[in-house]
């Protein structure tokens, strides 16, 4: 069963701010689930047989699991810093592997071609060398010292700047991006991609942000992130093979793909294969 090793992980299943007592019918790794607000004001998640599933509410979202999570949801200490705007971007469904959605988020080389004139532009297409590691203590994938020229890095950026990035993968279907914060040098903006695996080739993606930006209206922040993610959606839906290959053969990585290589290696090490293809076909 490909989902075995991933079954005890936490997954996002809804925006807490949008819950009501009627509930939201959705799915987690092929199982129908129901996410609702209980009479006590707390989020409740039940599976198809009415069994109550574990629940935690964090980073604007309700999180649940089909198994028994052995640890708390990963920490994002920056999310608790005072003065940040917390942005619920809302759900977007994508017909792709949940692991493909995360891998695309980690890729820098596609910025000039997919997010043209926003996150990248020709001829500034080179990905400078950066550092990638699997941190053993935290058991997370990290990419640091990533630099990229961006015409409009954020809603709060007024012109082209060289942006510095850090990427972090703390769970198989979640990634956190730390990015230069134009209005507050020295701090990092936090942009996350939380992915709810509905099936091995279907997912609901819940982007979320914690930004220092006192100027931009909330709706503009939401639209900026939705615009970026929707530029990726059609590409994600057309990737072949649909499942993320973990064995070399089908896709040949290059130097610009080092974060992707580390992510795939980390997935394979943990047997996180829900949404993955193991033997090259």
């Amino acid at each position: 069963m490909p989902r075995e090793a991933m079954i005890d992980e936490w997954y996002p299943v809804g925006l807490f701010s949008q819950l009501d007592q009627t509930g939201r019918r959705t799915a987690l790794m092929g199982e129908p689930i129901d996410v609702a607000l209980g009479a006590d004001g707390k989020a409740k998640v039940t599976d198809g047989n009415g069994r109550a599933l574990p629940v935690t509410v964090r980073y604007g979202h309700v999180w649940s699991s089909l198994g028994e999570p052995g640890k708390d949801l990963f920490a994002i200490p920056e999310a608790d810093q005072p003065g940040r705007r917390l942005v619920d971007v809302g759900v977007v469904r994508v017909r792709c592997s949940p692991l493909r959605a995360v891998e695309n988020f980690l890729d820098i080389a596609h910025f000039p071609f997919v997010h043209t004139d926003i996150l990248g532009a020709e001829p500034h297409t080179e990905v400078q060398n950066y550092k990638v590691e699997i941190r053993e203590d935290e058991d997370e994938v990290w990419a640091t010292q990533v630099q990229f020229y961006q015409p409009q890095a954020a809603k709060s950026a007024s012109g082209g700047i060289t942006t510095e990035y850090m990427y972090r993968v703390p769970a198989p279907t979640c990634s956190i991006l730390y990015k230069t914060c134009p209005p507050r040098p020295g701090e990092w903006d936090v942009i996350t991609l939380f992915v709810q695996p509905l099936a091995e080739d279907l997912c609901d993606v819940w982007p979320w942000m914690a930004l220092y930006d006192d100027e931009t209206p909330m709706t503009d922040l939401i639209h900026f992130q939705q615009m970026i993610f929707l530029q990726d959606r059609s590409i994600l839906e057309n990737q072949i093979p649909a499942l993320l290959p973990l064995d070399p053969g089908m896709e040949i990585p290059t130097r610009a793909d080092q974060t992707s290589v580390a992510y795939r290696r980390w997935l394979k090490r943990h047997n996180y294969t829900y949404g993955a293809q193991l033997v090259a076909q």
């Binding site: 759900v91 615009m227 530029q231």
Partner: protein, 219 residues
């Protein structure tokens, strides 16, 4: 001119695109359509009891139908987008302008269902969407037999701009454009217009690579 706008809405994009093509500057007022459902809130319901966006406001004039907005922008800034007025052309222009509402309902409905989880009978929406695409394909082919590249004329009109976004975004709702060569050529012709702008899911035309030349000086 103020446009109540949502970046991912094809109906809003059609107005932004028309404004760009005719050189009209819009004052954009973003609406939190998703996830906030702001278009159903009191401020926008007072402006448009129909509860839809886009809404275009210009002085006393408030428009809530995107086709009317296209006609208004063209009439103000670039009347050539309204066609010559010759009977057949005027009729075809109206025909496709009204036809575009079917695309909004079926292809647009399939896209909202698949992408933003809005309710709908997805199989029915796709079936109706495919029927509409076949009709458009036949219409464009017949125009090409008349020596015309666009829906109503040999130059683009508001009818082309009204139909283009929902057609171009059909794959977002699980409807492929692969079977329709006339639609793909038409889409390419629209994307190559001066002043064309993109929206997420509708990409600009990339420069064609230069013709291959034998390289000199390198072995």
């Amino acid at each position: 001119m103020k446009l109540y706008d949502y970046i991912l809405s094809p109906s809003c994009y059609t107005v932004r695109l028309m404004a760009a093509l005719t050189g009209v500057k819009l004052d954009i007022r973003p609406v939190d359509f998703h996830p906030g459902l702001e278009h159903r809130g009191p401020e926008l319901m007072a402006l448009n009891p129909g509860g839809s966006i886009p809404i275009l406001e210009d002085g006393d004039l408030i428009l809530t139908e995107s086709s009317a907005m296209l006609v208004y922008l063209a009439a103000r800034a670039a009347p050539e987008w309204l066609g010559s007025g010759a009977p057949e052309q005027a009729a075809r222009l109206q025909q496709w302008l009204l036809f575009s509402h079917r695309l909004t309902a079926n292809l647009g409905g399939a896209r909202l269902h698949d992408m933003l989880l809005r309710p709908g009978d997805i199989d029915l929406l796709r079936t109706q969407g495919i029927a509409a695409l076949r009709e458009l394909e036949a219409g464009l082919f017949e125009q090409s037999q008349r020596g015309m590249r666009f829906l109503a004329s040999d130059r683009p009109t508001v009818a082309d701009i009204a139909c283009f976004p929902y057609v171009a975004l059909a794959p977002d709702g699980g409807v492929s454009l692969d079977p329709y060569p006339a639609i793909r050529l038409w889409s390419r012709a629209i994307r190559s217009l001066d002043g064309f702008i993109e929206m997420p899911g509708i990409h600009r035309l990339h420069e064609l690579k230069p013709d291959p030349q034998p390289e000199t000086g390198e072995a």
